[in-house]
Amino acid sequence: MDFRFTPQEQAFREEIRDWLKTNLPDHTPGDRMSGDSENLNVYKMFAQRLATKGWVAPHWPKEYGGLGLSVVEQLVFNEEMAEASAPMGYSTIGTGWVGPTLIVYGTDEQKQRWLPQITAGDVMWCQGFSEPNAGSDLASLKTSAVRDGDDYVINGQKIWTSGAHYADWMILIARTDPEAPKHKGISYFLVDMKTPGLSTTPLIDMMDNHAFNEVFFDNVRVPRANLLGEENRGWYMAATTLDFERSSIGGAVGAGRMVRELTQYCVDTPWNGHRLIDESRVRSRLSDAAIEAELGRLLSYRVITLQSRGAVPNYEASIAKLFNTDMQLRMARSGLEIMGLYGQLDHQDKYAPLKGRFERQYLWQTGLAVGGGTTEIQKNIIATRGLGLPRQ
């Protein structure tokens, strides 16, 4: 029971803060993770600045371009980036998914080929996992990869591919053995987005953003050298423990910041002869939001504690993820309720409170983050894997 960071960790925190003072881009996009294309250059520029410090993937081992940070140092790093709302959209899939998986399953050649590009902030990756009929039931995917000489020939379709319209590379899972049980016939590929036959179609979301895409594969040839690990073992690689804590901690820290902003708004806004914050309905919502943000942070810290102690987090990570996701939705909803008529204003409206961040969050969270069965799936994992309850 010790919530204090060591002097070294504190010093690292200060170093990051100082560095961010001069290196954070002037124009910080609102959605730090969404990777919308208009801010692509900002994302890339910042990623390359991070690279000069070894901070693109500082938790990776030094030999792969990281700094080999401890999990707590990584936490400190992630917290400060989230606190500053630093744009991390350029590298999340590369550093969170591609790298860790390559480090475990890649050949030396593959590691040499792809890892340095990531830590240099030079390439953008996207993730070709979901398909129209394989969402929460991902293993039922149908995109096929058929061996043909030294290549695999890919045919099929992916969906919800974030950033596919500007990514350089994709991690792709596709079916190499249609006869095998569904989890056992899947392989894992690294695909150059410029390969002939690969095309993308935008999926415009209800916020009029173009963040997602459909990606079509029409006889796309991927060299065998781009197969990761063994053929038909792709499912297990895809399910590898990933850089989960980043998003969860980011959520809690971001939520904490949103509570502070909302509180300030309620202090500053006159209402009925007093201040908005003097309304009891506002006070209890702010208070709940602050408590939940703190809880979200602590549930993430618990995961870090386990990792620090060398244990492998099990359902604890699902709890943190679930709580933080739900919490952000509740917070957005509370924020809009507090704002009353102003809460409905789009972020582009001049009167939108707090630049419409709560409105954006409301659409984003209700629309997507809890969608796709995330909440259900996380609860299933907690119940069956964590609590040992029997599957149906």
Binding site: N133, M206, L341, Q344
Partner: protein, 376 residues
């Protein structure tokens, strides 16, 4: 005692559903989101031909003299079809204050044209203070010879930019409910500036700025200084109208989601066979049904002049505001990724809900009104 529709209401419902499915398809709803005017004059004309604009206007003014109960039935269908345009603004916010407080001349001047679909109106009530109560009205109206001069800003005024006239709620003196006067203002008067707001629902609300706007004394609606009573009457009808729209919207969101849950297969079975999804849908249908019957009760009480009218109206809006938000949230959640795309229709309901949740007071506002009435 019967909570269902009577024969006439049933016919109205069925007719309206068929009509709107044909005349107000999803494509029109989407088009009008992008359209600056936000409504289709063609559809407007056709609706007028059905007598809908005059539904609650007296027969001698060219209306059908039906009650709020029938209007609720119709507006449920509007919510279902997400009909865009200034229908509630015109028929409720424009016509009702004239029916309630207008002189015979004013009635004759405006109501038949409204009933015929020839006039578009709204009421300009709320201001930057975003309050529904009388003390929120600060727009100043000063007597100047035979005219009044209006100065001030109205905000969140629905459909203002396409109106011919607005009923403007202004302050001629006094404090609180006292000293409020209504004016029928020509929307093209000198000194009026409109700026459309950008909202979640892509509905058409505006900021309306009044700078030395001259209004003839003949355009005062009702007694000077006594306008708030009329606003309250309008507010009762408008609140029930908002509830009815939410009922239809919730029902359609629910129906769409239910179908999706039956058709979408994951893990080798329809997702609607999972208990977690089933229980969400069970919760949602309770929310929808509950919203409907409390709205009917409110409409009936208001029509009949029952003692519990204000209580029922506030109960209905408090419940429907929260319940519809739960329904559309479940809708998004069950749809998953597809629900987030612009192309698929469910997001239209999700976004549109926020608008009516707020109109004429959100759940907090009406909960407090319920509490006040309970003390009595």
């Amino acid at each position: 005692m019967d909570l269902g529709l009577d024969e006439q209401q049933e016919m109205l419902k069925n007719f309206a559903r068929d009509f709107l499915e044909k005349e107000c398809p999803e494509s029109l709803v989407r088009e009008m989101e992008e359209d600056d005017q936000g409504y289709s004059p063609d559809l407007w004309k056709k609706m007028a031909e059905q007598g809908w604009m005059g539904l609650i206007i007296p027969e001698d003014q060219g209306g059908a003299a039906m009650t709020l109960c029938e209007l609720v039935v119709l507006l449920e269908e509007f919510g279902r079809a997400l009909v865009p345009g200034p229908f509630i603004s015109t028929v409720v916010l424009g016509a009702v204050p004239i029916m309630e407080a207008g002189t015979d001349e004013q009635k004759a001047q405006y109501l038949p044209k409204i009933a015929a679909g020839e006039l578009i109106m709204t009421m300009a009530l709320t201001e930057p203070s975003a309050k529904w109560t009388a003390d929120g009205v600060t727009l100043e109206a000063k007597k100047d010879g035979g005219d009044y001069v209006l100065n001030g800003t109205k905000l969140f005024v629905p459909d203002a930019h396409v109106t011919d006239h607005m009923v403007v709620v202004a302050r001629t003196g006094g404090k609180g409910e006292d000293g409020i006067t209504l004016f029928i203002v020509d929307s093209k008067s000198d000194g009026i500036k409109f700026e459309q707001l950008k909202t979640i629902a892509a509905d058409k609300q505006s900021e309306v700025i009044f700078e030395n706007v001259k209004v003839p004394a003949a355009n005062v609606l009702g007694d000077e200084g006594k306008g708030w009573e009329t606003v309250e009457k309008v507010s009762r009808v408008a609140t029930v109208a908002a509830c009815a729209y939410l009922v239809g919207l919730s029902q359609m969101d629910f129906d769409t989601t239910l179908n999706y849950a039956k058709e979408r297969v994951q893990f080798g079975r329809p997702i609607g066979s999972f208990q977690a999804i089933q229980h969400k849908l069970a919760d949602a249908i309770i929310d929808v049904d509950g919203s409907r019957f409390i709205t009917y009760k409110a409409a009936w009480s208001l029509t009949e002049g029952e003692d519990d009218t204000d209580m029922m109206i506030s109960m209905a809006k408090a419940w429907a505001s929260d319940a519809s938000r739960r329904v559309v949230a479940h809708g998004q959640q069950i749809h998953g990724g597809i629900g987030f795309t612009k192309e698929y229709k469910i997001q239209l309901y999700f976004r549109r809900q926020k608008w009516m949740e707020l109109m004429w007071g959100d759940a907090d506002y009406h909960r407090e009104k319920v509490a006040q009435l309970m003390e009595v």
